[in-house]
């Protein structure tokens, strides 16, 4: 293993242990632990958005919508489990996600043989198949639910909850990813600003649906605009840290591969990328789906921090937060996104709330935009610019020693 990798993993382990110890010994109160978890969740959403916007160049304002989908999906699954040890929500969602995922992969393979498929037609086809499969999953899931519930109940309470929670978060991510695939199919063909607006539309539509989840959607337990309660508070420092670490490594590994370079080439110059044999539609879709997967996972984690979900959390105004975070941290910088998420959560949620005297909370949002303005004016490339930790940085492969040193052309660089 390389030295940078060792340093990185060692450093990560150290941070985890120190923070965990501080929590265990009560050095960090709930307020700060909460911010810590929130920051990790923001970091995951931010990494996803950075992949989409910072690395692939697609201006998405929809990540907050996928975050919301993930939160409510995961929350609903664990809600039913805690309420009456029923795995029906788990089974339905699991089967739906698996069936649809398999169908999407299969259809994609088939469609890739047909040249020049119209995006909207493909979308229609996928939609019909997905709706059909979701219907089947509902029937099958309900049929299987008693057996699975029984099996899970055999495990000790704590363990079964952790398993259901873990599955719920994964399902949340996959669900967000699959919805983003469907949505992105036609919408990614739009130009950059229009894509942004359409994804903003998605965030707003999701919020409206959540506001009316009890009346318009068949989820009375979500209680619409009154907010959903009864979700177990499972997300702790271990889970938040583990998910964040895995996602950082996945993003890093992906970016430092040919696939990552293909993703970045789309941002750099679409026309040149096409001319180099890169299927840009595929890579736009890929990064959008991956980014949304992360948003869904983050949502799943978020739902289990406070055990309470409210549609206002997923207001479209807040959908700018991840965008602000990644721009502050520096577009195309993983380290920047991590740093900015934690800084943002601590300063905005923590310090400003603690420092400002009672009754002047609104000043927070007067000071915050001013800081934002100043940073944009003074450091338009973000606070960290393109700085990366050594492990996250791309290392140039060494050159093989050449037989004889040739003179490079003596062109003077200005």
């Amino acid at each position: 293993m390389q030295r940078t990798t060792l340093f990185f993993l060692g450093g990560a382990a150290l941070i985890f242990v120190i923070v965990q110890a501080m929590i265990s010994f009560g050095l960090l109160n709930d307020f700060y632990v909460n911010i810590l978890l929130l920051a990790s969740v923001y970091a995951i959403v931010g990494l996803g958005l950075n992949l989409i916007y910072g690395f692939n160049g697609q201006f998405s304002l929809g990540q907050w919508g996928f975050y919301a989908i993930g939160a409510y999906a995961a929350g609903d699954i664990t809600y039913w489990w805690t309420l009456d040890k029923s795995a029906h929500a788990l089974m339905i969602a699991l089967l739906a996600v698996l069936f649809c995922g398999a169908a999407i992969l299969l259809l994609r393979k088939l469609l890739s043989r047909v040249r020049g498929v119209d995006a909207l037609s493909a979308f229609t086809l996928y939609l019909v198949v997905v709706i059909f499969l979701v219907f089947i999953a509902i029937q099958l899931g309900q049929a299987l639910s008693p057996a699975v519930s029984g099996l899970l109940s055999l495990l000790p309470d704590g363990l079964s909850l952790q398993i259901v929670f873990f599955l719920a978060v994964l399902i949340a991510g996959l669900m967000a990813a699959e919805i983003s695939f469907l949505f992105g199919l036609p919408v990614l063909t739009l130009g950059s600003d229009y894509f942004g607006i359409a994804t903003l539309g998605l965030t707003i539509i999701v919020k409206v649906l959540l506001d009316n989840s009890d009346t318009l959607l068949p989820f009375p337990e979500m209680k619409g605009a009154r907010g959903m309660v009864g979700i177990p508070e499972v997300t702790n420092w271990f889970w938040a840290f583990a998910f964040l670490l895995v996602i950082v490594i996945v993003v890093r590994n992906l970016l430092h591969s040919s696939y990552g370079r293909a993703i970045i080439s789309v941002r750099e110059d679409e026309i040149a990328a096409k001319a180099m044999g890169i299927d840009i539609a595929h890579y736009k879709n890929l990064s959008f789906v991956l980014g949304s997967l992360f948003a869904g996972l983050a949502g799943g984690l978020y739902a289990h921090i406070n055990g309470f979900l409210h549609p206002n959390t997923f207001n479209f105004i807040k959908s700018f937060d991840p965008m602000i975070i990644i721009v502050m941290g520096g577009l195309g910088s993983i380290t920047g996104t991590l740093g900015a998420s934690f800084a943002w959560a601590f300063i905005l949620e923590g310090l400003l709330r603690v420092i400002l005297p009672q009754g002047t909370e609104t000043w927070r949002f007067v000071v915050y935009p001013l800081i934002l303005l100043l940073i944009m004016l003074l450091r338009p490339k973000g606070l960290m610019g393109e700085i990366e930790l050594p492990f996250l940085r791309q290392v140039l492969p060494p050159l093989k020693p050449k037989a004889q040193p040739e003179e490079t052309q003596a062109e003077v660089k200005p």
Partner: protein, 284 residues
Amino acid sequence: MSDAIPPRPAPPADAPPLLTAQNLTKEFGGLRAVHNFEKTIHTGELVGLIGPNGAGKTTIFNMITGVYVPTSGSVIFNNQDITGIAPHEINQLGIARTFQNIRLFPNLTVLDNVRIAYHPHAGYSMSDAILHNAHFNQKEKELTERAQEFLGVFNLQDRQGEIAKNLPYGEQRRLEIARALAAYPKLLLLDEPAAGMNPAESMALMDLIHFIRERFNLTILLIEHQMRVVMGICEWITVVDFGEVIARGTPQEIQSNPRVIEAYLGPGAAALSQKYRRKKPHAD
């Protein structure tokens, strides 16, 4: 109109054409940019496409490479109809190109610019990439070494870590050609490679084109403004003006073709000079 075009010397009889453009026409909202363009290119040829600014040369390139779908007509490459196929697929079939106003991936390193061109041949799956497993490491190493070798051919290996947009102009041109060649195309389209070069650089470019043609066994179609370059290296030249072919032939034929002289120079410069004769003591 076609009767004015001198008959083109017969190509080697047995070789099938590598590229055939038939009746290619492109209209932009009623404006005809290219009309009934016909061209056959055989393996191994180095063909020039010349014509005044705005004559439709780049539009022809864009139709061959799939950037534009022709309004009518077809492109046959390697016995396959590639009309209307997506640009990335055309590239994977073996046609690579460079651009008139250099299109590198500006914020990436020189090495990555070339490595991106290898992407369709990377040889590992996305899960390999995410896991960074042994197979990935092996393939990635091969790919990188190949890219470095390639940079070596173009004398850019010491620049591998440089950000592309910071390279001097001449090196950017070379890098763009290197990138186009990285995936071993059969046909290379060069869009004004000598633009902005001085005579010495142009000469070096001509040598480079000759060299890559031999080394990579290439067929080349070249748009160029600098007649010196075109006349110096092309075996066949096609001249377009107002979207139509006005002449084709060898460089010698083209240089003495009155229609070409007119298209490039307008109605006899000497006559105009008489007309606009300035009231100056030294004007004749």
